[in-house]
Symmetry: C2
Subunit: 354 residues, 2 copies
């Protein structure tokens, strides 16, 4: 929005925001009733009459949804012949867009109504529509469908793309012992074991998560190389053990507030030696190649507020660097947008001046 | 959306649709927590630190909502100084935009989730979140707040602007007897009585509506000039009486499906003489001066689907003219966008060739 808008343009943009939820739901209906797919199959266009004759949807519904889709640029209508636009095609076929749409509709839509409340209370008040948990993490394995599938699709999409490139960066100095802090189901640890035959891993996480990670490690026959350390990083009494070559935090710190991040990084600081490298992998919203990605990440911040925990968010790269510094580390190298992903890696060492 | 978008632009536009509801709710929070108003008062900009110090909202919430607002062009942030944009100003101060936002949030947001269902069933399935009525019309007087206020603000805003100019058009030929079909609370009839000292009016509507209209007419001392005719226009047995100089239908036909409109207009046809004029006042979505207005009217169609009655919509001017013709009338004059309103008037007479 760099150029100056006229009043007429600004008023139009304001209405797009005002009726955003209505048109969003009209796109869901257009897709779920098979209308968008049918139109997409007719690349040269298809008449509204043919759509009405072919699909088992009322003439009223078809006309209504096509008019709505035309207004937001998802379809083009000329002489009662309808074509899909590029925007419509992305909504129908692009993986990122599909995943975002389903995440919005199945996980976040109803809960988003509680945004003001969530900010006032500092709690994810929208989560109540899915279940009675203090944060979404307690409920992940028992989320109702389709929320569960849409949540995991979203999580998966925004994390796995970074791993191949990240492995190259982390193993540049052949670490022997890696602490996977917030290791969750163990995906990163298993990738490390596959990448390097000698590395040993310690997964640090809450007991409930470690149960899942241990189960997965058992199935993969990796219990001789991976061990587990139960820890609640919000409890300052509980210390990360000494001795790792690498401390790894992958999409972990965005689950916490700024104050909590400093506390966690200070805990890492007391565990680190002069030769320990701390790697922070995050999708920083201000460090993206495409506006679509920045848009998605800021929306993800809002998800944290209403559904996840009420107090975390995606961070800008500058804010994270400040928090790193405040904790006694310094960023010695930044690897922006590694591989085919939205993530950057901050490589950190203990500051010499602390 | 006339110009051809690049893939990157189209993907961005698709994400705007995908996260429309999330950003909508972030704007609601930004407004309801007083942040938008505070920023608006500082036209030259205000630092985020000052906002955090002044307002009783968490630093987390303020940063989050400002980041979200910047992404959608509601605020501009430069060197941690925030300014409101034109879009933000419209959201905060423009009457149409405010009314649309509140209508979306208070009346339609939760119900919109049921759009696919509403189309499949041909019923306003979203209405259930407000109350247990077959259509919203049965529930209007007992809607829960804030839905009730937002509904009436919306209805009021989109109808009253047309009346002054409409009176001039209708009274050009000094009608003695006007039938106000679907007269609702009587607002148009009272305006007619104020405009012309001699005109007599018959309000035709459902008994429950006539009760309100009669009460209002009594209070205004107009019972000697206005009478009432109870009629259910969806019942083909019930006929509009003969004899009016003018049959007036103001924002009435958009409450019905195309088939029902033809049925109602045929009923008007049997009541009309060669000298009767039928006036249809409607906001046609394809006949608007500004894209913001077209956008709002198409969104209103979607409201009819999910919340109002499940089968009506705003019409294009061509479709309405076809329905007029099919019913035995012809449009002898079109008055586009009369006065300071979104409405056009179709002046119709019985066709000579029927």
């Amino acid at each position: 929005m760099k150029k100056e808008l006229s009043a007429i343009e600004a008023k139009y943009e304001a209405q797009k925001i005002a009726f955003g939820p209505m048109f969003f739901q009209s796109v869901i209906a257009l897709r779920d009733l098979g209308i968008l797919e049918f139109i997409n199959k007719h690349r040269k266009g298809v008449s509204i009459d043919t759509i009405v004759e072919t699909l088992d949807v009322s003439e009223y519904g078809i006309n209504l949804l096509i008019e709505a889709a035309a207004v937001i640029g998802v379809l083009e209508v000329e002489n009662k012949v309808v074509k899909i636009t590029k925007i419509g095609f992305f909504l129908l076929k692009d993986e990122m867009t599909r995943i975002n749409v389903n995440f919005m509709n199945d996980v976040c839509y109803m809960g988003a109504k509680a945004m003001t409340d969530s900010i006032v209370k500092g709690k994810p008040e929208g989560l109540k529509v899915l279940g009675d948990w203090p944060t979404i993490y307690e409920g992940l394995s028992i989320l109702p469908e389709p929320a569960k599938k849409s949540w995991f699709d979203f999580d998966h999409y925004y994390s796995d793309g970074a791993f191949p490139e990240a492995l190259k960066i982390v193993f540049r100095n052949q670490p022997k012992l890696i602490f996977d802090v917030g290791g969750n189901t163990g995906k990163w640890s298993f990738a490390c074991c596959a990448h390097d035959a000698d590395v040993r891993i310690k997964i640090l996480d809450l007991p409930v998560q470690l149960k899942v990670a241990r189960q997965n490690a058992t199935e993969k026959g990796l219990l001789d190389r991976i061990d587990f350390h139960a820890i609640d990083l919000l409890n300052t009494e509980q210390k990360i053990p000494q001795g790792p070559d690498v401390i790894w935090m992958s999409q972990f710190l965005d689950c916490f507030s700024k104050e909590e991040i400093v506390q966690i990084l200070k805990n890492a600081y007391q565990a680190a030696s002069e030769t320990t490298t701390l790697y922070i992998l995050e999708p920083f919203f201000d460090n993206q190649a495409y506006p679509a990605a920045e848009y998605s990440l800021v929306a993800t911040s809002l998800y944290f507020t209403i559904m996840a925990n009420g107090n975390s968010k995606m961070y800008s790269i500058d804010v994270m660097k400040e928090l790193v510094k405040e904790s006694g580390f310094e960023v010695v190298e930044t690897y922006p947008l590694i591989g085919d992903s939205y993530h950057s890696i901050l490589e950190c060492r203990k500051r010499a001046d602390v």
